[in-house]
């Protein structure tokens, strides 16, 4: 397990700023001492522990529920049933247009269960154990129904309907078409037809499961929800209307979160159950999900089929266009969906210059856990598809996958580049990234390595995954799903203040889960206020009552380095101006341009002895302000809302800029397969990243590493597998294998810094990694099989048995046909 880091050719400029330096993370000191405060660490006097009774059936009517025995169990404080939920709340707001809009989704199952593990009853007791025991005494009678577990058959005639209110299992459909497909296909020399590709179902399984401690204030009607939900802005707009209360009645508090990866966005149903019980029982209610609960019910990544794909291509490998039918298996409820039906369009052409694209996108319900965002959300699936297409086309036309990529990559000189659907790629040099990645694995010498592997009886393959990590959403894209929606743009908030003793205090609207926001925010502040990062205190965690909370606050979708840090920058610059204004008045009318910040205070440029320390500034405004000019307009407590420059997309054409920044990743994997067993190892690996200006290179590299590890886990092992009755076969870490230290290949990292021209700091959101590792491993396996049957990889998860199958029967790979025009 070695790591090598390669810097770009340019010699790095000597750092004169905090930004760009690997300062020690402010978060680490508490975390390495076990002094972090995660949700399950928080206790309140008299709190009760909540346990959910969950459905053993994938699809069934609930004919009767009897909680009386459970309520009589010693230590039990009370219960909540779906019937009560239906009386006390309204169904959650649906993002979908009709028919998905008609789905009725509550905090607990009402009348029917739709997946194994669906919460039916909540039991609260004095101890975790008593709550669990009592849950087993809840009597539920079911009338089982046939389950649908294969999205491809969800709309077949005669299959049961999962949501009667929706009138069938179709949840959403939309056709996206840009360019001139007919022209592209007539211009093509070849049409490559790919019958079916499948992106599998998995998620990032943060080590900390979901949880909350909910307190109800009877006097004010306000709930305090201490939770690890990573997108309070979204949770609140889901919960408030459902609970029939104003949003300020729902106070979200978080300190440390044990990983999120998108999986902790859609816990709002469980949080509502906690809220109702905290009110009903008049005591704090604590809920911590068990690992199996998480696997059964929380935020599976979007499983997607790509059917009847046709690719128009010239003989030299120039890609003209493609059409496909994308079919998303949304699971049993639309908790964040069908947004996955548009999020992919942020990266419609991937890294390539396709001009003509048609995607007929459908989402259906199945009797599986609801899908929700997972690191690389929806773009990863689409980018895997575009990378698969590239490698299949290269194989079929007998072209070099490196050359096909380079021929079709959008070029650095074309940046900013407008995609066929109106997205604007801000900057980047993909070909250069590929060269760096190939060098890192010594691609020039790969022939010798292939021969060496062959001599040892192994099949060596090299694969490329080139992806984008689009960040800072324009929420106007939701209107492409449902034109009635009134969301657009994005925002994030920060406040920066000087306290009475001159302390610099920063609050963020974000909910970090390990991304080091306290550290990077302090770097940005210190650069502007010309002080040390040690002088900047950034409050840990999130509190929606801190006044640093906006509608889209949270930590998700690769945006902190843009939204969060731009808000910090804006607030700090406001503070700087106020300090100048105050000092100017104190110094007797000195204009701001004659002042500068230095050494923890403000001074007159030409007269450095005229110096006012921050402590004096804070003290004057907060505690010694008699005699200050009435119109001074200085509070030293500055709040800034960063709003990225977006327009509402054109709903008719499905056209517009959907995200502000496009970080890029090029990964290269080298695998060796044992043809006897299908077992393979990643023997060499390179990850090259470009996320624009890096505030803290070590944190950036850490994100690259983490995304790589998750992708490698997903590529080989991680899979939410269901049997045909809808039972999840991988409901814990025994059956759902996540990578261990011994699983990790040697890793080489490299980077390019293409500053974003669109963001205040030149940064780009990053961290999701676009699933590049999955794409690279799929390509590498296919490459290894090239001269051994030539099976084409068609699934994003390739455990050893699948590779063995493809080796022994190449028809187990993708079915592909090439038609000469």
């Amino acid at each position: 397990m070695t790591t090598t880091t390669i810097a770009p050719e340019q010699v790095e400029q000597q750092q004169e700023t905090w930004s760009g330096q690997n300062v020690p993370r402010k978060e680490d000191r508490r975390l390495v001492q076990g002094q972090g405060v995660f949700v399950d660490d928080v206790k309140r006097h008299g709190m009760g522990y909540l346990h959910f009774v969950r459905s053993p059936y994938a699809h069934a009517h609930i004919t009767a529920i009897d909680v009386s025995k459970a309520e009589e169990h010693p230590g039990v404080y009370g219960t909540l049933t779906g019937e009560e939920v239906a009386a006390l709340t309204d169904p959650f707001f649906q993002i979908a247009s009709v028919p998905g809009a008609n789905v009725k989704d509550y905090a607990l199952a009402v009348g029917k269960v739709r997946y194994v593990g669906e919460p039916i009853v909540a039991v609260v007791a004095e101890t975790r154990e008593a709550a669990r025991d009592a849950s087993e005494l809840v009597e539920v009678e079911y009338e089982p129904l046939a389950a649908i577990t294969d999205a491809r058959h969800a709309q077949d005639e005669g299959v049961p309907t999962i949501h009667e209110d929706a009138g069938g299992n179709l949840m959403w459909n939309g056709v996206y078409e840009w360019g001139d497909l007919d022209a592209a296909f007539s211009e093509a020399d070849r049409v490559v037809k790919i019958d079916e590709l499948h992106f599998h179902r998995f998620n990032s399984t943060p080590l900390e499961c979901d949880g909350a401690l909910v307190e109800y204030n009877r006097g004010t009607g306000q709930w305090t929800i201490t939770t690890n939900n990573q997108f309070p802005g979204f949770a609140i707009i889901m919960m408030g209307p459902a609970m029939r209360v104003g949003l300020d009645k729902l106070r979200f508090v978080t300190q440390d979160i044990g990983g999120g990866f998108g999986n902790k966005i859609t816990s709002h149903p469980q949080l509502v159950a906690c809220c109702l019980l905290a009110r009903k029982l008049n005591r704090p209610v604590q809920w911590t999900e068990w690992r199996t609960d998480f696997h059964l019910s929380m935020s599976h990544g979007n499983e997607r089929w790509f059917q009847d794909t046709e690719v128009a291509v010239k003989s030299d490998g120039t890609l003209l266009g493609f059409r496909t039918k994308a079919l998303d298996d949304a699971g049993a409820y639309l908790r964040y969906e069908p947004l996955g039906g548009v999020i992919w369009a942020q990266v419609t052409p991937g890294m390539y210059k396709w001009q003509h694209v048609r995607v007929d996108f459908t989402q259906v319900a199945t009797n599986k856990a609801p899908v929700s965002p997972n690191r690389g959300y929806s773009r990863m699936q689409h980018l895997w598809f575009t990378e698969r297409v590239i490698d299949i086309v290269a194989h079929e036309l007998d072209l070099d996958p490196v050359e096909v990529r380079k021929r079709n990559y959008i070029k650095a000189a074309d940046m900013p580049y407008t995609t066929p659907n109106g997205c604007v790629y801000d900057s980047g040099d993909y070909a250069k990234m590929l060269d760096i990645a190939l060098d890192l694995v010594d691609y020039a010498g790969i022939g010798a390595k292939r021969a060496d592997a062959a001599a040892r009886g192994k099949l060596l393959g090299v694969g490329i995954g080139s992806t984008l990590d689009s960040g800072t959403n324009n929420f106007g894209q939701s209107r492409l799903i449902n034109p009635e929606l009134q969301f657009s743009g994005n925002n994030e908030v920060a406040t920066v203040k000087l306290d009475i003793f001159g302390e610099i205090v920063v609050t963020l609207g974000t909910t970090p889960q390990g991304q080091g926001h306290e550290t990077t925010a302090a770097q940005v502040v210190a650069d502007i206020l010309k002080c040390s990062v040690d002088d900047v205190y950034v409050r840990a965690g999130h509190d929606s009552y801190w006044n640093s909370h906006a509608g889209f606050s949270g930590t998700y979708a690769s945006q902190f380095a843009v939204t969060g840090l731009s808000a910090v920058k804006g607030a700090t610059e406001m503070l700087r101006e106020e300090i100048f204004k105050l000092a100017g008045a104190i110094f007797g009318g000195v204009p701001p341009e004659a002042l500068e910040l230095a050494d923890g205070g403000v001074r007159i440029k030409d007269n450095p002895e005229a110096f006012l320390p921050f402590m004096a500034c804070g003290a004057i405004i907060n505690a010694n302000n008699a005699g200050l000019p009435e119109d001074l307009g200085v509070t030293l407590n500055c709040r800034y809302v960063y709003r990225p420059p977006f327009e509402v997309p054109d709903v008719e054409r499905k056209y517009g800029n959907l995200t502000l920044t496009y970080a890029a990743q090029v990964h290269v994997a080298v695998v060796e397969i044992d043809p006897e067993t299908g077992y393979y190892e990643v023997v060499d690996y390179a990850a090259v990243d470009d996320c624009g200006k890096r505030i803290h290179p070590q944190i950036v590299e850490g994100q690259v590493m983490g995304a790589t590890a998750q992708a490698l886990g997903a590529a080989v092992h991680e899979n939410y597998v269901y049997d045909e009755d809808g039972n999840l076969l991988t409901p814990n870490f025994y059956d759902y294998h996540v990578p261990h230290a011994l699983d990790m290949p040697p890793l080489k990292t490299g980077y390019v810094e293409s500053a974003s021209p669109f963001t205040p700091l030149g940064t780009k959101g990053m961290g999701e990694g676009g699933g590049a590792g999955i794409h690279a491993v799929c390509a590498a396996v296919q490459d290894a099989l090239r001269d051994h049957g030539g099976a084409l990889v068609w699934d994003s998860c390739n455990p050893y048995h699948r590779v063995w199958e493809m080796l022994n029967d190449p028809t187990k790979g993708a079915r592909v046909e090439v038609v000469a025009q």
Binding site: M1, T3, N22, P24, R25, D28, R29, R30, L31, V32, Q33, G34, Q35, G36, F38, D40, D41, K43, P74, G75, E126, T127, R128, E129, D133, S204, T205, P206, L207, E208, C209, D256, I257, G258, G259, F261, T288, W290, R291, Q513, G514, Q515, I699, E701, G702, Q703, M705, G706, T708, A709, Q710, N732, F733, Y734, P739, H740, A741, L742, M744, L747
Partner: protein, 159 residues
């Protein structure tokens, strides 16, 4: 907390990071729940409930243990070390400093267990080989870092 007619509770005594605690505990209570909920030492975490993830790793009578795989009553009389005992007052130990210097943690949830596994390794084998480090960390899952920096941190601390 009598939740059953039959007495299932016992009084146990454990010494954690040098402090001795005597508590009544249900016979079925797991050591990790006892330490976190009853002793309020919340540095050790729970990630899987099945002994796979190692977030709850502690050193019990000198042996590295996944404390979700052990009952609290089994620890009666034991001397237990948890992450809270690693630093000397405000002074982080070499391993803790190395984890921070090498960015071996992101969210920090697995970190206490990782630190205890690495502590147990370095105590038994102060100069481990690369393979020995990886094997020692094999029982601890991290979802943030991909392990590369954790490996480097342990290796540097050993040196």
């Amino acid at each position: 907390m009598a939740s059953s007619a039959v007495s299932t509770e016992r009084t146990i005594s454990v010494t954690v990071n040098g402090t001795t605690y005597e508590r009544e505990v249900e016979a079925r209570k797991l050591l990790i729940h006892f330490v976190r909920d009853d002793l309020d030492l919340t540095g050790s975490h729970i990630g899987c409930d099945t002994g796979n993830c190692g977030a709850c790793s502690m050193i019990v009578d000198g042996t590295l243990v996944k404390s979700c795989m052990m009952l609290a009553v089994q620890a009666d009389g034991a001397t237990i070390e948890t992450v809270e005992g690693l630093a000397a007052g405000d002074e982080l130990n070499a391993l803790q400093q190395s984890f921070s210097a090498h960015h071996a943690l992101q969210c920090g949830y697995c970190t206490p267990g990782m630190l205890m596994s690495a502590t147990a390794l370095l105590r038994e084998n102060p100069h481990p080989s690369d393979d020995e480090i990886k094997k020692a960390l094999q029982g601890n899952i991290c979802r943030c870092t991909g392990y590369w920096n954790i490996f480097e941190a342990v290796k540097a601390a050993a040196e």
